[in-house]
Symmetry: C2
């Protein structure tokens, strides 16, 4: 199961998931100018970041929206980035947050678990129903070493709109989602004890996180929001089980680390590497 | 506002939204073989369907998952299909069900309201929060003649997982979503009285639909599920206001109409046209 590989990466390298949410404006200007197109520049930037960090990262999360925004060329850069992550022996999480049903969901599963856009994990949105949205992905999880992360609780302001709506039993919507995800997770366990059916959970306060982790007993966690979005290392602790079972994503904090340095532009990849080390150690020191 | 154009189309031509959820297996075999690639065959099939129906349809809904499943080539066919819909003076709904926040949502808005994948409307998923998910799309609605349909209540079995969770006041989740969508809708009204902020609502029983329409006073409705998915014309009535304010999608029922005919393969576009007429009249006779 793919979750076993992710578990090993976390054990050996730490919890850092590098977010390749690469906007063209993030690239050093002189660097970007070398390339014929924005998409080509972004792919090469990603490649340089991967070259400088693949031995340290647990995995890479690629946010497809940034590539869709550039149309066909952008999606070619997306495809090439996923291929390069694989070439370096690394794990890719396609942050696609797709959520649809029946044949449409089958199409998304085929589209992101094979062909041009093949990734190791995808993120999924549960609004249309857990089983309907997830079912078409299960055969890839069981047969093709693939995995998913289902949106359970996000940490943006608007998350409160629905995720915290309480049902008649006093359970928040996100707790209902968590219970349903966990049920499927337990049917897809790796030998590490965690499941290839993971959850996306925001880093908030430890009390809530601890109680959520009690529901998500086996689900591997993808935790966005570290750094630029305000999440702190000490918020991660309550989500871990024996120090494992979660990866923590940082995007801008790593990609833009060079901007904090004098003349950082020429060595953006090195500064990204330094930031990954700093973040890895920050998390390790707080768990 | 784009909703005014949609309103006029419904008034003049009826309620049929043609779903171009075009799977390669739907194409007549001899037809498909003429083309160099699956994607090219699908684009040409779509083009022939559009040529045969553009004077009858209210709009076209293109389900991006079917194109993503074919990778880069598929998305080129998707892009070309959207361009052709525009060329024929028609309205496109990109069924993308994206749902994300802040800068990622901005990227989706840019990606689907400009460039290669420009459409007139997109569908959005609200799970991460109404304002966070929708806000980046508003400026296109106000300034660029664009519109959105937010997933409110779907009619699949799994919809019950979350959409029907009751809050402490006895309101279903989908009713909470509806109230929030309607609030934004009323701030983006066209001169027809409906809003460019629409809702996706499944066709179920009339009692529930009538009560949902009371909440969604101005939101234009996109109703999937007619025909192949079990929705009937008489289920539409409760959603209409003075006979307008909603489009009804059919995909397979139209694209595969030729399969019900002897030697239908040679005239698939004509049979699609006939089915659009039948469906239009079926709805008109039942409202």
């Amino acid at each position: 199961m793919i979750v076993d590989k992710l578990f090993e990466h976390v054990k050996e390298r730490g919890h850092v998931c590098i977010g390749l949410d690469t906007d063209y404006s993030y690239l050093p200007e002189a660097y970007a100018k070398q390339f014929k197109s924005k998409a080509e520049a972004i792919y090469n930037f990603n490649k340089d970041i991967i070259d400088a960090t693949y031995d340290l990262a647990a995995c890479y999360k690629v946010q497809i929206a940034y590539y869709e925004a550039m149309g066909i060329d952008g999606l070619r850069a997306y495809s090439d980035t996923l291929k390069y992550i694989k070439e370096k022996g690394q794990i890719s999480i396609a942050d696609i947050k797709r959520g649809d049903i029946s044949k449409t969901a089958e199409m998304y599963a085929a589209g992101h678990f094979s062909g041009d856009f093949e990734a190791d994990f995808v993120t999924l949105s549960p609004y249309m129903g857990i089983n309907d949205s997830i079912e078409p992905f299960l055969k890839y999880i069981k047969e093709n070493e693939k995995g998913i992360f289902v949106l359970v609780r996000t940490s943006n302001q608007g998350a409160k709109d629905f995720q915290y709506i309480k049902d008649e039993n006093g359970l928040n919507l996100y707790e209902n989602v968590a219970d349903m995800v966990e049920k499927l997770a337990e049917e897809n366990l790796g030998s590490c004890g965690f499941s290839s059916i993971g959850s996306v959970v925001g880093a908030t306060n430890n009390e809530e996180s601890g109680s959520l982790r009690k529901r998500l007993k086996t689900s591997f966690l993808l935790i966005p929001g570290y750094g630029a979005q305000g999440g702190k290392a000490e918020d991660i602790k309550a989500y871990l089980i024996n120090g494992n079972g979660a990866v923590v994503n940082s995007s801008r904090g790593i990609l833009l680390a060079y901007k904090k340095e004098n003349n950082g532009e020429d060595n953006f990849a090195m500064y990204a590497r330094n930031e990954v080390i700093r973040m890895r150690d920050d998390i390790r020191a707080n768990i």
